[in-house]
Every structure is written in C-alpha cells, then in structure tokens.
C-alpha cells in the first residue's frame, strides 16, 4: 500500500516539477508580457497543485493535509488576483521591451 502511495507521490511530484520547468521555459520563450504572465501563473499553479496532491498521501495528520490544501488554495487565490492586477498594470502602461 505504502509503496503504491510512494509511487503516486513520486509521479505527481515529478509532474509538478516538470510543470514548473515548463512555466520557466514559457517565460523565456513567449514574445509578449501578457502571454508570459499567463504561462507562468498557469504552469506554476498547476505545478503546485500536483505537488500538493502528491504530498497528501505523505501527510502525517489530517491537519497536515488540510494545511497543504490551504497553501494551494491561497496560492490559487492570490495568483488569480495578482495576475489580474498585473494585467491591468501592463495594459495601463503598455510598453513592450
């Protein structure tokens, strides 16, 4: 059982890490600010979600698991708001490098 959970964890965590890498690549390669913004926030949040999902089986207690989910929720919420705020700021002072 725990071996299966271990494998699940490893797979999910690896997938999450790859998504982080994808976000970084997107940031480096995409042409304009808004699509870069999009790439990084989506990829990172999905990555964090996968990692949280992967770590859930390893959580020592229910509170520990709840905290993990809270971290993800918080990051989700803040990233959504922040990218909106940032998007506006980009539109207002649009200036391509």
């Amino acid at each position: 059982m725990s071996a299966v959970l271990g494998i699940v964890t490893i797979v999910l965590v690896t997938a999450g890490a790859v998504l982080f890498l994808a976000g970084t690549l997107g940031l480096l390669r995409f042409p304009d600010t808004l699509s870069r913004l999009h790439a990084i926030s989506k990829a990172d949040n999905l990555g964090l979600g996968l990692i949280v999902l992967g770590l859930l089986p390893q959580a020592a207690s229910v509170t520990g698991g709840l905290k993990l989910i809270c971290v993800w929720l918080l990051a989700q919420l803040s990233a959504a708001t922040a990218s909106q705020l940032l998007g506006r700021a980009v539109y207002r002072g649009r200036r391509e490098p």
Binding site: C70, L74, L77, S78, T81, Q84, L85, R88
Partner: protein, 310 residues
C-alpha cells in the same frame, strides 16, 4: 543532496543581494529585495529555525517590502540624490567590505568546537514554564526583559513616525488608500482577510508549543488590516482614537502589570508564579499580538495626513 540545495540557496541569496545593490532603478531594487526577504525564509527553514522563518517572511518580506514600495512611489521623481562616489572610491570601499566579509567568514569558521550552547539549559528550564516551544520560552520567560523593552522600541518608533505629521493634523488619520483602487484589489481585500485572520489566530495559538507566536501572528493581522485599509473598505483610524490607543498600549501594559505582580507573588520582577506560567504567558501573548498588529500596521501607514474627525 541537501548540501547541494543549501549551496543553491546561498548562491541565489547572494546573487539577489548583489542585484539589489547594483540595480539602477529604485523600484526594481526593492522588488528584488522583497524576493530576497521571502527567500531568506527558506534559508531559515534550512537552519532549523521555523520561528525565525515565519518572522522573516512576514516582516522582512511582507512588512518591509510594502513599506519601501510605498515610499518609493512617493519619492519617485523627487529624490535628491547625493553625488555618486568616484569609481576609485567605490573600489576602495568594495575592497574594504570584502575584507570585512573575509574576516567575518574566518571568525565564523573559527568558532569554538564543540559549539557552546544554551540549548540544554533552555530545555531544562522549559518545564517550569509549561511551554513546548523553547523560542517562546526565551522570548517571554528567560529573556522577557528584552521583549518588553523591544515592545517599547516599536511604540517609540511609532511615536517618532507620528511626530513627523504637520502640526495641524497631528492627531488625525494617516492616508493609505491610493487614488485609484483597482477592482481586483477590492476583491482580494474581501477574500484574503478571513484566511489571514484564521492563519494569524492559528500562529498565535500554536506559538506556545510549536513554531509561531506573537510577532508572526501580529504581522499577519497587520498585513490584513493594511489590505483592508488600502482597498478603502475601512478608513484608517485617527491616531488619537481611544480604541487604537488601547490596542497599542494594552499589550505592554498587561506585560508590565504581570511583571510587577511577579515581584510580589513570585520570585521577582518578570517571574511567573509556579503553575500559572503558561496561562499568564498566553494572556500576555494575546494582548501583545494585538499591540504588534496595531503598531506594525500604523508604522506602515505613516504619519497623519488628515485632520482628526471631531
């Protein structure tokens, strides 16, 4: 593997610090400094100091960051900079600083071995306090005098900041809300504070036995209050408002009262009666958390800008 991780962290921290120093634009430098503060939290976790990590992220990353960014927004375009140093002067200073760093590095490496430590003493005395978190025990029992005086330091800084208001509006309210409040900000100011308050209360509550405590909780609450004020959902209070004054002085006053009672009912000033140590410490922490929250938020808000509403 962990060594590699530590090395990467150190390299990243140093790179960010250098970036902060050499960056031309003020805002970019401050943003990099913010990132530096958050990253430092990771370093503290690696140093087995979660209490410090929480404080550093909350105060170093959150508090100082917003303080500097707000200042930069006001100062931009007005800054009177002093004459920059000559290249030779800078080089000389750089050599001097490098020498200091090198000497310091040698001193760090030459520390006595085995390392002198108060950990056993702190562990032994922990039982008398009834606490589970040794850092809280140091802050509120063994070295409570430092903590008490440091609360006064924070209060003095606030009085100092307030004293910079123009004469007429001195006891009025500071201004925190920007001219334009973007919609998402209002949204965040409605959604985030409930989370923040829960996290703040949790930090305070676990502080007695696990990492956390009054500073961390106070800073979280302060940040949430600032968020609400910035979004314009609640106006900042007049600096002379009784409720604010009560929140600010309540913590230190309770601390002092219990300290003096200790010299009557316990072994001395700032000593706790046996068996009552933990409840008393938790009571002090509760009051201090509110004081810290009020003081830090008002420190960031700055001096009064509007005449008091009378």
């Amino acid at each position: 593997m962990t060594l590699l991780l530590d090395l990467a962290l150190v390299a990243w921290l140093l790179a960010l610090a250098v970036h902060v120093v050499v960056q031309r634009g003020e805002r970019s430098a401050i943003i990099a400094f913010l990132a530096f503060g958050l990253l430092l939290g990771l370093a503290w976790v690696r140093l087995a100091a979660p209490d410090v990590a929480l404080t550093e992220i909350a105060i170093g990353g959150g508090g100082t960051g917003i303080l500097l960014l707000r200042a930069e927004a006001v100062l931009r375009g007005r800054g009177k900079e002093e004459e920059p140093m000559t290249r030779a002067g800078k080089l000389a200073v750089a050599v001097g600083c490098a020498a200091i760093s090198a000497g310091l590095g040698l001193a760090v490496l030459s520390f006595a071995s085995p390392a002198p430590t108060l950990a056993p003493a702190a562990a032994e005395a922990l039982g008398a306090t009834g606490l589970g978190n040794p850092v809280t025990a140091v802050l509120l029992a063994y070295r409570a005098l430092d903590t008490l005086l440091e609360k006064i330091v924070v209060l003095l800084a606030l009085i100092g900041v307030w004293s910079l208001a123009p004469d007429g509006v001195w006891d009025g309210a500071p201004e925190v809300k920007p001219a334009i409040v973007p919609g998402p900000l209002t949204y965040l100011a409605r959604i985030l504070p409930p989370f923040g308050i829960v996290i703040g209360v949790y930090m305070f509550w676990v502080g007695a036995d696990a990492p956390g405590g009054t500073f961390q909780a106070g800073t979280v609450l302060a940040a949430m209050w600032l968020l609400v004020m910035m979004a314009g959902l609640k106006p900042p209070p007049d600096t002379s408002r009784p409720l604010l004054v009560l929140a600010l002085t309540g913590g230190p006053a309770l601390f002092l009262a219990i300290a003096f009672l200790g010299s009557i009912f316990a072994e001395g000033f700032l000593a706790y009666p046996e068996g009552l140590a933990k409840p008393l410490i938790v009571a002090i922490e509760a009051a201090l958390t509110l004081s810290v929250a009020a003081a830090l938020a008002m420190l960031v808000a700055g001096p009064a800008r509007k005449a008091p509403a009378r």
